[in-house]
């Protein structure tokens, strides 16, 4: 990784298809050939479904930057779990490519794949996937054992990661003796044992109750702040996605409908489907003043409510309640960097109250 440019994507997914059914590969090829425009994946997917096949992932394209926390969000059946399994090659994708640090892992042979998994990839599962016949330590140390690490080294490293997830003291317990939250801590510790660069998390907190979920989300963010892994995180919970993500991909019926920052998703949904998701999200909490700054700064601005660039929209709006003219925006150093129209602040916050409010 060191020899590569730091902006090079850690994961690059291109034209990825996962079609379930008999002779999927051939069917996909013929469907593409039959389509008037092979790029029109809607038509290809329709064609496949008409033949009784299930296109679970349809032409997915995205990149995950090094150190980025990339969340894939969608309802059950949207293909998000299938997608992460394609990227980790737990299932064989039907077409497309998945590059991890430039290497197309779909072309990797069995040996190379095992090697990658032993050293570079880690994964956390929704239902934890803990080995019931092993103690906590043995579970966490299992990937190290696969690496061929010695027993003493395994114990030492297991102790380290268990400390990281706050589970020291339970090393000799069996999974059945642990609570749900503790089990997922073990799952997280295990996935970090070999210190992987790429970290896959498949709905890691979905099986936990809300309080524990929030607690683990916060700890997860803390861990990520220090470790800076490249992460693909799956969830069906928009709040979780918005809270954790650097960028979010929204999936529907096997198709990635929008990719963007939490702010993009909340303020600039590409269609009604995405808008529907974010309807109940308090907009101001996820967007900053800079997202609604005007292109041109007006010459005269009589009022100055002292808006800052990184200020949340809801707080900014509070300060502009009685103002109608554009107001200046300042950066932390005290320089004016732009201007905001208070009316647009309000509009951004109520972006779908117009549709929702009418109902």
């Amino acid at each position: 990784m060191t020899d590569k440019n730091s902006t090079a994507p850690a994961i690059a997914v291109e034209g990825l298809w996962q079609v379930f059914g008999e002779h999927a590969e051939k069917a996909l090829r013929t469907a593409r050939e039959a389509a008037t425009n092979p790029e029109d994946f809607h038509a290809v997917a329709e064609d496949l479904m008409a033949r009784g096949l299930i296109p679970a992932v349809r032409d997915a394209n995205f990149e995950v930057k090094a150190g980025e926390l990339f969340v894939i969000m969608g309802l059950s059946g949207s293909g998000k779990s299938t997608l992460i399994r394609c990227i980790s090659r737990l299932i064989e994708p039907t077409a497309g490519s998945v590059r991890i640090d430039g290497e197309d892992i779909l072309k990797a042979n069995e040996k190379r794949l095992i090697d990658l998994r032993r050293n570079k990839l880690g994964m956390v599962f929704q239902h934890f996937g803990l080995f019931p016949h092993m103690t906590v330590t043995d579970n966490v140390a299992f990937p190290l054992k696969m690496q061929g690490a010695g027993k003493a080294e395994r114990r030492k490293r297991a102790h380290e990661v268990l400390e990281l997830v706050g589970l020291n003291g339970r090393e000799d317990a069996y999974p059945r003796n642990l609570s749900g939250g503790q089990r997922q801590r073990v799952g997280i510790a295990r996935s970090l044992a070999v210190n992987p660069d790429i970290w896959f998390l498949d709905e890691p907190f979905s099986a936990l109750d809300p309080l524990i979920r929030r607690q683990l989300q916060d700890e997860f963010l803390n861990i990520q702040a220090t470790l800076q892994k490249s992460i693909v995180f799956i969830t069906h919970d928009i709040q979780e996605a918005l809270k954790l993500a650097d960028r979010i991909a929204i999936m529907r019926d096997g198709e990635v409908v929008q990719i963007g920052t939490p702010e993009d998703i909340v303020l600039r949904p590409v269609n009604d489907y995405v808008r529907e998701f974010t309807r109940d999200v308090p907009k101001g909490r996820h967007a900053r003043v800079e997202s609604v700054m005007l292109d041109k700064t007006p010459d005269s601005m009589p009022d100055d409510p002292k808006l800052k660039v990184g200020m949340r929209l809801d707080i900014a709006l509070e300060r502009c309640m009685d103002l109608y003219e554009p107001v200046p925006v300042w950066d932390d150093a005290g320089n004016m960097v732009g201007a905001v129209n208070p009316a647009e602040l309000a509009a951004a916050l109520h972006v779908d109250d117009d549709t929702g409010g009418a109902a």
């Binding site: 737990l90 080995f131 696969m146 070999v194």
Partner: protein, 688 residues
């Protein structure tokens, strides 16, 4: 046939699939009944059209066996060594040592309870005086179980790793389990020669399928997340399988091991009929033949004790448990060893202490007195069931009703009146929108008048095919017709009908008694606390032992066989009925209660329909159990295929043994598929 009515009856005014099928069967039945007198071939399959299947199979299998014989004999020679060694160790170890060891083992497995079970169980064997015989049996089990376990493990893993073979493997396992146990033995005798090795091999073959099934099931049930976690940890396929998936499936595999042990024990005891080895099964058989019921009962009890100890201990292995103190186990073993040492000096008898000989004689005398005093009552029970139940079912009312038993002679006039009455009931049912039920009543009357063992073959064939059509579809019809056709042209048809009659009668009795008991157990926990241990016990006892009590009171004969079959086959019916009735989702019950349904209304309107698929599965098990026991019951006097298989065993007649065994398996298979078809249909209808 009552199933047809239950499934398709009362669906509406249209002629349902069931009604169509029933009408067709009735038409065939009436044709056969009316024209049977003129055309013999309508009743019995013409002799000219039978093929000497038995001879052909005999020739082919015989040739096949002769090819493998040298290999088999070599194997038999090799395997006889470990068997001898294990036998010698078990026989010549002073029994206090063995008792101590088993008690210590029990402690390790399940604490004080299992330790007590081991101690008292084996102590009973010691005082029974059958220690040597018991140890000989145990030696056979001890060698055959590892064989079976390894074989089953390999088959299960192979079926899991190569899903393409799964269908084939499942079919093979089905065959291994439906072909009656006695039928295995004949070709094995030819292959391996007389002697205990045959019992060993037979029990290994018989015990492997449950192991294989459970290994496969366990592997399939490993959570997807666990499987994927192993992959993502970078394990090779072999590491995934042996380090993660098999251990994670451990409990299910232990369930398989438990079943494997029980099957092996059961088969070792059955294989004793070959003789040549002084084991406990032989002891039972010998005493039974000499009508020494006391010793037979005592030896049978020893078998049951073994079965209970082995079953409960290995079942405890499959339960999650906390580790027990090893020091206590060592202490127990040390005490055993100490007593053993002392006993050797004090004059240890390798045959146990035999304190119960007097007791056996007392039992013998007691039974003698009891049967002498109550002979009239017992005979009355037996004769009533025979003359008014079994016999009419077998040869039909027309032949069974005689002045000597019923007080009058059945005439054509009676037949007419009987048919008229059944037609009236059927018509009434049809008029009340239960057309299928009505037709089935008339068919049943027809069958009762003719007798199952004398039923015209077109009626039976079309009847089975019609059931297949209603249950599942044309594919099943094809299977049923081809398989039954094979029996028909092989000349074993009449014997098959006799077997069908006896198992049918037992299944009907079991369905009724088991259904009622299961229902009561579901309604009241108090009933279940009484019924449950009895069920547990009946399921643990090896088949063979069921013969002892019925013989004691009813002597050799069809009625004894009938009782033995019922005792064994009733258990699944009870269990599944109860299970089905109590497993209704709580929400459905609450919805019914909220709608104002009473306890009984809930039972009949909600619970019973929901339980139907489960109860049908219970019926299916009962049928398979009945067929399995039917062959064993041949020892105490049944006619039909079971008898043929038993005779073939005595004469080492491979052709007859294999064909009769196959015919038996076909009957079981056809019954199995039919009932499964109905259960599946019901499950689909309920959206399960």
């Amino acid at each position: 046939m009552a199933v047809v009515e239950e499934v398709s009856g009362g669906r509406g005014l249209d002629i349902t699939r069931g009604a169509k099928a029933a009408l067709l069967v009735l038409a065939v039945g009436i044709t056969c009944r009316l024209l049977g007198a003129q055309f013999d071939w309508l009743v019995a399959w013409p002799e000219a059209l039978t093929v000497p299947m038995t001879d052909w199979v005999g020739a082919v299998v015989g040739w096949f066996l002769s090819v493998f014989k040298p290999v088999a004999r070599a194997f038999s020679y090799l395997i006889s060594f470990p068997m001898e060694w294990v036998g010698a160790v078990l026989r010549y170890s002073p029994w206090p040592l063995t008792v101590g060891l088993v008690t210590a083992l029990g402690w390790l497995i399940g604490g004080a309870r299992m330790a007590a079970l081991g101690f008292f169980g084996l102590s009973f064997v010691v005082i029974s005086g059958y220690w040597t015989e018991g140890m000989n049996t145990l030696a056979l089990v001890a060698v055959s179980v590892p064989l079976a376990a390894i074989m089953g493990m390999a088959i299960g893993i192979a079926a899991f790793e190569f899903p393409r073979f799964k269908g084939a493997v499942n079919a093979l396992l089905d065959i291994m389990q439906t072909v009656p146990t006695f039928a295995y033995l004949t070709p094995l005798i030819v292959l391996f020669g007389f002697g205990p090795v045959v019992g060993l091999i037979a029990s290994a073959i018989y015990a492997a399928p449950p192991m294989a099934r459970n290994v496969l099931l366990g592997l399939e049930r490993v959570e997807e997340d666990i499987r994927e976690a192993a992959v993502m940890s970078g394990g090779t396929r072999r590491q995934q399988l042996f380090l993660i998936e098999l251990p994670a499936a451990g409990q299910q595999i232990m369930v398989g091991f438990n079943q494997c042990l029980m099957a092996a024990l059961s088969m070792v005891i059955i294989a004793a009929v070959i003789g040549g080895f002084k084991d406990i099964g032989w002891e039972v058989l010998l005493t039974m033949r000499k009508a020494q019921f006391g010793p037979a009962f005592l030896a049978g009890t020893v078998i049951v004790v073994f079965a209970v100890v082995i079953d409960r201990m290995s079942a405890a292995l499959a339960e999650p448990r906390e580790p027990q103190s090893k020091r206590v186990a060592l202490g127990i073993f040390a005490i055993g060893a100490g007593v053993a040492l002392w006993s050797v000096f004090a004059g240890w008898s390798p045959n146990g202490v035999a304190w119960l000989d007097g007791w056996a004689e007392a039992v013998d005398a007691g039974v003698g007195t009891f049967t002498a005093n109550n002979g009239a009552t017992l005979d009355a029970v037996k004769n009533t069931s025979m003359f008014y139940g079994l016999l009419p079912l077998r040869i039909g009312l027309a032949d069974a009703v005689l002045p000597f038993t019923w007080g009058f002679q059945w005439t054509a006039m009676h037949s007419l009146m009987f048919f008229a009455a059944s037609a009236a009931i059927g018509g009434l049912l049809a008029w009340r929108d239960h057309l299928t039920a009505g037709v089935v009543v008339v068919i049943a009357a027809l069958l009762l008048e003719i007798g199952i063992a004398q039923a015209p073959w077109p009626l039976m064939l079309v009847g089975a095919a019609a059931l297949g059509w209603v249950a599942s579809g044309w594919k099943l019809v094809r299977l049923v017709v081809i398989l039954l056709g094979l029996i028909l042209i092989s000349g074993l048809w009449e014997r098959a009908l006799l077997s069908l009659y006896l198992s049918g009668a037992s299944v009907a009795a079991c369905a009724f008694v088991g259904g009622v008991l299961g229902f009561l157990s579901a309604m009241s926990t108090r009933v279940w606390t009484v019924v449950r241990p009895i069920c547990d016990m009946l399921q643990t006892i090896p088949l063979f032992v069921f013969l002892i009590p019925v013989l004691m009171f009813f002597q050799i004969g069809e009625f004894s066989a009938f009782l033995a079959i019922c005792m064994y086959a009733v258990v699944p019916m009870i269990r599944y009925t109860r299970q089905g009735l109590i497993s209704t989702p709580e929400e459905m019950i609450e919805a019914a209660t909220a709608s104002g349904a009473g306890k009984w209304q809930t039972m009949f309107e909600v619970r019973a329909p929901y339980a139907a698929p489960t109860i049908l599965l219970g019926l299916n098990q009962t049928i398979l159990y009945a067929f399995a026991m039917l062959v064993i019951a041949a020892l105490i006097g049944t006619t039909g295929l079971g008898q043929s298989i038993y005779l073939a065993l005595g004469q080492a007649d491979v052709g007859l043994g294999v064909t009769a065994g196959a015919a038996m398996a076909i009957l079981a298979l056809v019954a199995d598929r039919l009932v499964q078809g109905f259960a599946e249909e019901r499950r689909k209808a309920l959206g399960l």
